[in-house]
């Protein structure tokens, strides 16, 4: 479980996040949704400590106060975190297999065979088979995302963060990636936080949804609640196109 308490974040004079509170429980997919530029990535980077939060905020990983820790203590927590970045962030000088092995090599004392076995297990899990020697640049966007998931789960993380896992992917591949994240979350009872602005993902995997608007938590619920809510901003977000707006009219009138 990750508890986010009263997080604010400013860059210089511009404040991006305003007193955000949230709780992400394990064994379910937690979504952070919102329009582009609303502060979702900044919020996530604050949670994992890539940005320092402003005074007064705290992030607790299963009760452990991450914000108060020094670099060394944080590294222990980070070994329990897997993260999937918006652009996959695979190391482009390493092969597919080396990418997945990388965290194992840095932080475990496994032998080369054990590491390769683990890497192949993770790659199999995301359906990447016989691609070990390719370089990331030689893989399609969807494959890169899956390889990045394999790398993120290599260390058996307790917490998984995914920043827009299906940005730039076609709808079918997106759903595939979404479902993969969902399955892995249930399988390993992870605390998963997915950032997205894709309504398909919200409907597919949104066990718990937080809506961020202009740096504030605006709404909280799940994918069943979100289609019925009458919160103006959420409605604007969910039913963005006129087609969807019409659909909503019909939905409400029964």
């Amino acid at each position: 479980m990750i508890e986010v308490k009263n997080i604010s974040k400013s860059f210089g004079d511009t404040q991006i996040l305003f007193n955000v509170d949230a709780t992400f429980t394990e064994g379910q997919v937690n979504l952070i949704i919102g329009a582009s530029g609303s502060g979702k990535s900044v919020l996530t980077k604050c949670i994992v400590g890539l940005h320092e939060v402003d005074e007064g905020g705290a992030v607790l990983y299963d009760g452990r106060d991450f914000t108060a820790m020094d670099r060394k203590e944080r590294i222990e927590i980070r070994k329990e975190i897997g993260m999937l970045f918006q652009g996959s962030a695979l190391f482009d000088s390493l092969t597919v297999e080396e990418n997945v092995i990388f965290p194992l090599k840095m932080f475990t004392d496994m032998s080369v065979e054990e590491m390769r076995e683990r890497a192949n297990f993770c790659l199999n899990r995301v359906d990447i088979i016989n691609k070990n020697e390719l370089l990331p640049a030689e893989c399609s966007g969807g494959m890169q995302k899956r390889i990045a998931i394999a790398r993120a789960i290599a260390m058996n993380p307790k917490y998984l963060f995914c920043d827009e896992p299906n940005s730039g992917l076609d709808p079918k591949t997106s759903i595939l990636i979404d479902n993969l994240i969902k399955e892995i979350t249930y399988e390993y009872n992870m605390t998963t936080v997915v950032i997205t602005h894709d309504m398909n993902s919200v409907m597919e995997i949104g066990d718990h949804v937080i809506f961020i608007n202009q740096g504030r938590k605006w709404w909280e619920g799940d994918n069943k609640g979100i289609i019925r809510t009458d919160n103006n901003e959420v409605v604007e977000f969910v039913y963005a196109s006129s087609f969807m707006k019409n659909l909503r009219e019909k939905l409400i009138s029964g």
Partner: protein
């Protein structure tokens, strides 16, 4: 950011470079791959440049020796002295600042803007140390070898130029090369120490510019340019200070 903020952040970065070495085995592997990609890969370019540089120094000296009072071996002597003192360490470092510097800044900068550095940090890797320590150490330790090669090839180039132009004989050139060596060999050690400092500058400064890149590919290009300019300036300034401190 002004110059002083940059310098401050540069030193904070250096602290992280040396603070916590990554796993020994991983580091060793990276170190040797950097020796290969930074140092060994530069040798062909350095060799080519050095031969021509040596040739030009000798020819210039020969052409400017109007006075019959100057012995002919002066040509070899001046070629050797200027090669060891300035041409090989400083010019080669400046040229490599362009080659290595832009390479490092764009590599690290690309890793920054594609979130690969964030990925390292999330895993718990000290990204500054991981990315820069092997490069800095490899170049600082091995650039002097490249410069020694360059010195030898400069002298070789001077000899070839003599044969080709007929301006001076092999014998007098060789006498010049060997002249006053006992008194002058200190200059060689000085030059090699200087080179180590230059090696440090041409890797750490571009590393700095790459690491703190913000934005996208346009900014990576910009970082790479700034890195080359800044490390060239740093070499010239350091050269002046070192000459002042040690030789004067």
């Amino acid at each position: 950011m002004n110059l002083f903020e940059h310098i401050g952040r540069y030193f904070v970065m250096l602290k992280a470079v040396f603070s916590r070495p990554e796993k020994g085995k991983v580091f060793r592997k990276m170190f040797f791959s950097e020796v290969d990609s930074i140092v060994i890969n530069s040798i062909p370019l350095v060799a080519f440049l050095s031969i021509f540089m040596g040739g030009v120094i000798s020819l210039q000296t020969a052409a400017n020796m109007g006075s019959p009072l100057l012995p002919e071996y002066t040509i070899g002597y001046i070629t050797r002295s200027s090669t060891i003192l300035e041409f090989s360490p400083t010019i080669i470092s400046l040229i490599l600042a362009g080659k290595i510097g832009s390479n490092i800044a764009s590599e690290v900068g690309t890793m920054r803007v594609t979130e690969q550095i964030d990925a390292l940090e999330i895993m718990g890797v000290n990204s500054i140390g991981y990315l820069m320590f092997p490069k800095i150490l490899a170049t600082t330790l091995f650039l002097p070898f490249v410069v020694v090669i360059s010195m030898a090839l400069c002298l070789f180039g001077g000899w070839i130029a003599g044969i080709q132009s007929g301006l001076y004989s092999t014998e007098t050139y060789m006498i010049g090369i060997k002249a006053f060596w006992y008194e002058d060999q200190f200059y060689l050690y000085y030059a090699l120490c200087k080179t180590m400092i230059f090696g440090f500058l041409i890797t750490s400064i571009p590393g700095y510019f790459g690491y703190y890149t913000k934005g996208g590919s346009l900014e990576v290009g910009r970082s790479s340019t700034s890195a080359v300019v800044a490390s060239s300036v740093a070499i010239l300034v350091a050269n002046y200070i070192l000459t002042q401190l040690i030789l004067v």
